[in-house]
Symmetry: C2
Subunit: 285 residues, 2 copies
């Protein structure tokens, strides 16, 4: 069986599948301390014969195999997990099992590339807009990594002229994540995104920031598609707003696919990450 | 011999080298019409026996080999060259010569990667700050291309609080190029960059925009080094200003090399492009 872990800051999702990627069992484990959480993870997987494992982790993680801290969760505010050798702990328990280890957004990007809204494309940018904003990128069919993984959720954005919110990023204040992730929406409007009406002006402001992310993504990476997942992206009225603001910002400087095909919601819903982790597991064999 | 063309909007630089990349002859040809300019280019190269050619072209160009317009200069404001099949014209004249065809910034990035300030690095971002702003990127030793080449010179930037200049980009007004390329400096201050004193406040404003480019480059690409070339980058007092503003903007969110090693001037001076084009020519054999 293939094993998949989507390790989030709130919960770990673990699943096993057959070699056709049909999920046979799945569980949710709260993210508490490494020993407690991984204890439960091991208890779940130990019920099965695992051939290979794919892991998408919250982070930032060190994903550079040449680094001495390869496989560590590094500077997370979740202190029990800061500077924790996550991959090392998995390898200690599963010495014989090949393990693919990357970020949570990279596994979701990979799932969408292979089986979701990025199928048939070569260059797939995937954004999650949830508790934070993260981007994973598939470049010519491979997970993109430079010296480290991209952290495009923290790019600087231009403030919307009607927006006076200071920004919620502890590092940058009003960066993309600081202005457009779920907590920023909640702090700006005093209520959660899911409680804001679809026709509220809040969504035009949100779309303005996400359109800037699409523009910068286009100019740096030139992907074939930009996919949005995560809780905030469930607001489907955002997509036409993002597309029209993106088109205006780009001003036809480079040619891109029709906006309806270029800026799209996830195809796999909440299963993008687990699907990508299973696919990466299989590729270890 | 290897042949190199650095095709700019003002002039073409052509050179031939031996197989150790020692330049044997070089000429400058004004960029007028395709037939006139290429006539002079062919007259120069026809004096030599050319084994392979590397071309770095102004653009935008279509550099996607799968595209029907592959090898064309596309939407340039230089109308005689718009929608011109540049690679096709070269191939018609040099039917037996393998030709590497990419952007002017990509050849310079490649030259700096192999023989300049990017030597020994794997992921090298190169910016030219001259008449325009362009970026070329070497990713794990290869010229990066997504669906098309990056056009990172046109990303949105935040306006410096002391800057009231409207911006000079015909597409975006106050994008990076619109605020920080040579013509923007000249229009903002009413004189050319080379006539502005090194300690003038103009350079802090310039550095603020280039620091934003470094931040966005870091967050999207995670390169090992960011190299600046082009006329404006000859103002060496810019580098400490860019580095300190970059460090402040990034706020230690991701770890990068020491700023002095990370944000650097070209190592090959004005020869980066020709060097890269010769290297790419050799790799065609
Ligand atoms: N349907 C929704 N509409 C708008 N915002 C939502 C919705 N669902 C979740 N969110 C917001 O997204 C954030 C949670 O993101 P989510 O992607 O669900 O999880 P996480 O990022 O923690 O993995 C919260 O800030 C929440 O308010
Ligand atoms: N030493 C210098 N200091 C400041 N600006 C310069 C300098 N040299 C050239 N420039 C500016 O750079 C632009 C020309 O860029 P350059 O890189 O020389 O050529 P191009 O981009 O056309 O290939 C002009 O706007 C010019 O004013
Ligand atoms: Zn931030
Ligand atoms: Zn522009």
């Amino acid at each position: 069986m293939y094993a998949a872990i989507e390790a989030g800051g709130t919960k770990f999702v673990c699943a096993v599948s057959d070699d056709k990627f049909n999920i046979q069992a799945r569980t949710h484990i709260p993210t508490t301390t490494p020993s407690e959480t991984l204890g439960a993870v091991f208890a779940f997987f130990d019920q099965y014969t695992i051939e290979a494992m794919g892991v998408g982790s919250f982070g930032p993680i060190d994903a550079n195999p040449a680094s001495p801290q390869y496989g560590y969760i590094t500077t997370t505010p979740k202190l029990a997990w800061a500077n924790y050798d996550f991959l090392g702990a998995l390898k200690a328990h599963y010495a014989q099992v090949p393990i693919a280890f990357t970020t949570d957004v990279n596994v979701a990007a990979y799932g969408e590339f292979k089986k979701g809204a990025g199928q048939g494309k070569q260059n797939v940018a995937y954004y999650t807009v949830g508790t934070g904003i993260g981007m994973g990128y598939i470049h010519h069919g491979q997970i993109y990594m430079g010296s480290q993984n991209p952290e495009a959720g923290h790019i600087l954005v231009r403030r919307h002229e009607a927006d006076t919110f200071a920004g919620a990023c502890p590092y940058h204040g009003d960066c993309l994540e600081g202005m457009a992730a779920g907590p920023a929406i909640q702090q700006r409007w005093g209520k959660k995104g899911k409680d804001i009406a679809p026709n509220d002006a809040a969504w035009a402001i949100e779309a303005y920031y996400l359109a800037q992310a699409c523009m910068t993504t286009t100019l740096f990476l030139s992907p074939d598609v930009i996919i949005f997942g995560g809780g905030v992206s469930k607001q489907s009225q955002l997509f036409p707003l993002i597309r029209s603001q993106f088109t205006k910002l780009l001003a036809d400087y480079v040619s891109v696919p029709a906006a309806d095909d270029y800026i799209v919601p996830v195809g796999l819903g909440d299963d993008a990450g687990i699907t990508g982790a299973l696919l990466l597991a299989a590729e270890q064999l």
